[in-house]
Symmetry: C2
Subunit: 455 residues, 2 copies
Amino acid sequence: HRRGGRSSQGHGSGRCSGRESLDKMSQNVLATPRGAEAPSPSVYLSKRGNSIRQHQGTLQEGFVQYAANKYHVTDNPEGIINLGTSENKLCYDLLHARLTRPDMLYVEPSLLQYSDWTGRTFLREEVAKFLTHYCGSPKTLNADNVVVMNGCGSLFSCVAAVICDPKDAILIPTPFYGVITDDVDLYSDVKLFHVHLDCEVTIKDYRAFHLTVEKLEEGLTKAKQEVAVILMNPHNPLAEIYTPEEMIAFLEFAKRNDLHAIVDELYMLTVFDESVTFHSVLSLDSLPDPLRTHVMWGLSKDFAMSGIRAGTLYTENRELVEALAQLGCFHGIPGTVQHQVAQLLQDRAWIDNEFLPENRRRLKAAHSFLTGELRSMGIPFLDRPAALFVWADLREYLQESSFQEELNLWRCFLRHNVLLSCGQAFSCSTPGWFRIVFADQHLHLGGPFMPDVSK
Amino acid sequence: HRRGGRSSQGHGSGRCSGRESLDKMSQNVLATPRGAEAPSPSVYLSKRGNSIRQHQGTLQEGFVQYAANKYHVTDNPEGIINLGTSENKLCYDLLHARLTRPDMLYVEPSLLQYSDWTGRTFLREEVAKFLTHYCGSPKTLNADNVVVMNGCGSLFSCVAAVICDPKDAILIPTPFYGVITDDVDLYSDVKLFHVHLDCEVTIKDYRAFHLTVEKLEEGLTKAKQEVAVILMNPHNPLAEIYTPEEMIAFLEFAKRNDLHAIVDELYMLTVFDESVTFHSVLSLDSLPDPLRTHVMWGLSKDFAMSGIRAGTLYTENRELVEALAQLGCFHGIPGTVQHQVAQLLQDRAWIDNEFLPENRRRLKAAHSFLTGELRSMGIPFLDRPAALFVWADLREYLQESSFQEELNLWRCFLRHNVLLSCGQAFSCSTPGWFRIVFADQHLHLGGPFMPDVSK
């Protein structure tokens, strides 16, 4: 029982008020909303190298703390429970059973040799078949339009490098998965231009954080060097599922403005409510601007294996594929793992009869548990039937509406050994929103999951 | 018997004279010494993207042709035999036996999850132990000084990004493994400044392509923004093994000039003559400038698995490690493969009793075969007991001493379905030198290996 354990260790369970937090943490809290203190510049690194080294937000800071002190039921019961990193930890038994079947232990000479940097042909073919089926494409997708790299972060980096010049900008609605900021910036020196979505519901607009074409147009007039727009469906961290009509409108907006549309569909198979259908843009009869539409998918979220490092891009733009092929040498996947991924993707019996139904069942149960807890505590949240997390409104727990206060609350959770992700890490315009990952068995260890910050 | 097959296919075996080559290939040979024709710029890509896409030399052009038409003894006996790419294809049987043992099929939850981007702790520990032993380090090397990424190309890219600013330069003696040019340039916009070594032997200097501190000093006075020097030992493509005294002198040169020394020891375990000992810089009692000395190694060459994508960096500079950790997210290795690599590196019985002795025996035999053929044809070459290739002097076969003629000869080989690497791809200052990979069983199919270009 985590709460008991915590209390008995003298961590206390009293409210982390802004005052208390500031007092206790005055040594290591910066006045700026940044995470841990930046190291001083190194004489051994270039200006760029120092900037890269000093780059650290709370997502990273939290993960580092978690990695050094992971919760384990027997070995480290006082460790950190990670509800901040979007990983699905509910289906390891299913994955272990599949990944240790004999077909996974396969080696042939070519798998140990250099190959095509966009991914081996056999893998690109399986990805094309897989996407054709699970995205409901009206036409058979082409393996030559597939690029496979070691994760979607690599794909974001590469795509930014080849469609943008340094200092160019990409439009993105906020909140959004904050790591994309680093993905397009660290190597490629591309900036994100934020289009802030509003958390407040009005008579005119009943949807919180509602993304509309008007919002995008408005953002575009303020931006300068924008080259592309990033769209996420299902959305991270909102878990919003956009309708085909909405996505078409967004893609038409991109076309009107000669913007590349990078469509991130990483969570497409996480929809856990049977009454809701996700529509991939690859299911459309025709894309408004096929040569500027690039669809990302990967195994990290839908197949719960972020440690395997496999992301895919589908694009009809061969010139883009050629450019990505040049950078692919930095983002290669081991030949043997390419074989394993291909084996997994072609195993429809396992995917359709074992993994997907059971995974959805578990996601749904975990989501129900978390949202039930939130309801019982009176915490508002976006109730969406997809992804691995809930976007929750903890504004009530801030002393004042500021990102410093949000950071204090985030640190308060962390002191109580619960890692969450705060809204600022997703560039949310209003302080007090948190992303809470529910796809973790630890949630069930002893509720309520939240440190008692209400007293 | 390849030669017969070739002739019977009407390829002819007549001499590819410069005249003939130019006539036959006027459609696709550029006046510049570049490889295939550059594609016209894409309106969908940025200036940088177009530059990346158009980036292609003969190393790449040759590999693409080979990949589309690989020689196979029964399935494609008229395919291309690749003696251009430095891969060891002699030990697949040993590798297959090891890589399909049950310990390689291991999955645990953490391997499927996000982790430390410099490599999992268990792997960095095995790498440190491995390097301590095989580099003969007088002290136990520290796992915290190890960074593991998906290949040394990724490490070159990252190190360039964090020790250099865009347009900065790194000093490198030529000839050198040409891909490094792309490794430091494509993402990181860092240029190489060439220090040309001379192929001519003089009374004063009896060693062809002799690297000396004087040469380095001379290069440095001509360079402008140099930040580092790249040293290779054993050298690619010369297969030269430098003595500890030479390496110390080079490292002292780097220290005197505040240059980082990136020491590439990728071929350290390929020395196949028992009478010759390779000395890693990690075997030195002390490094002249430990915080500016960074040693690269990987599995691609020494363990004949370039398709597995695993490269390591050893550096005492923690600030550099911290900066690399930030970029590591783009160069991650699957958790399961990190486990496999760790298993392999800790299996000293297999390495010492099975793989290394047999690999050396086979390398030595293949080297003997190739050099015997070269001798019988009167072709001069550098006779060195290391690496997977021989640096051969084909100047006699050029109509005139020009890189266009060298390219013609390279294309002539390729038309005869033999892929080699020409000196220009290694920035050699004198046309006519070729790198010939001997670590391939195909060499034995029917000698002499060379198309008959002498008649």
